[in-house]
């Protein structure tokens, strides 16, 4: 009994159900809650893949920061929409068909690609995943790291300026 695979299927099912429920709810707060479910399920899969730092960052930033931001704005903008879907049945059907086509194209390219070489299990670094990621981040990827911090500063300034009440 391959428990690892069972746990992965459980998380995958949770993530998919969360995603489908998220895009079909009438109430935006319900959508946000299902999105949290998806985020946490994906975080669980990260742990299974050995990305423990990413698991922590996902839960903290996505479930703990971005979702809270969404909930704040949903409550500020609290409108009940009488109709969920834009444009009527034709648009719904066309979107569904085009998305299935996209899925088919990508899935067929996966199937035709060269078989994955034997999975090289990430030898857990002697000091652990967090230390390895930190070392890599500050040595190999220090430039994107600094640029991303500047990006965060710019985004913060932009959000404050855009959200200010008109004088």
């Amino acid at each position: 009994m391959n428990w690892g695979l069972m746990v992965f299927y459980f998380f995958a099912a949770l993530a998919t159900v969360g995603g489908v429920m998220m895009i079909t709810r009438r109430n935006a707060v319900h959508s946000a809650v299902y999105l949290v479910l998806t985020f946490v399920a994906i975080a669980g899969i990260y742990v299974q893949l050995g990305a423990e730092f990413l698991f922590a960052v996902q839960v903290l930033v996505y479930a703990g920061g971005i979702l809270v931001l969404f909930l704040f704005v949903i409550m500020l903008v609290n409108l009940e929409e009488p109709r969920r879907f834009s444009g009527g049945r034709m648009r719904l059907a066309a979107s569904g068909i085009m998305t299935l086509v996209l899925f088919g194209i990508l899935a067929s390219s996966f199937a035709r690609s060269a078989p994955a070489r034997a999975v090289a299990a990430i030898a857990p670094a002697a000091e652990g995943n967090l230390q390895a990621v930190g070392a890599s981040l500050y040595v190999d990827y220090v430039l994107p790291f600094e640029l991303v911090s500047v990006l965060l500063l710019v985004a913060m300034i932009g959000a404050i300026v855009l959200g200010r009440p008109r004088a």
Partner: protein, 100 residues
């Protein structure tokens, strides 16, 4: 051990769910949430290949992806708030000032 194809198919499924959400919903906030789902699907792809190649690069770019998503959500929601203040609606169909 989780087969690589399973991970790729899951990321593909999440991507298509996000794309459908962006295409058919009227509420701007739910469209933004669907975009977050798409970003998560891409992240899952990064981490899956990081595991396959035994290379930490995928996880590093996953961290950057999450950071950029956070910045994008902040600015996007600020725009939604400014829009709501002006138009009293978050219905995407009614934001058509630039249509001919």
């Amino acid at each position: 051990m989780i087969p690589q194809s399973h991970l790729l198919v899951l990321s593909l499924v999440l991507l298509t769910i996000g794309v459908v959400g962006v295409l058919v919903r009227r509420n701007v906030i739910i469209i933004l949430m669907s975009i977050e789902l798409i970003l998560n699907a891409a992240n899952l792809n990064f981490v899956a290949f990081s595991r396959q190649w035994g290379d930490l690069t995928g996880q590093i770019w996953g961290v950057f992806n999450i950071t950029i998503a956070a910045a994008e959500v902040a600015v996007g929601l600020a725009i939604v708030i400014a829009l709501f203040r002006n138009r009293e609606t978050v219905n995407v169909d009614e934001m058509n000032l630039m249509k001919w």
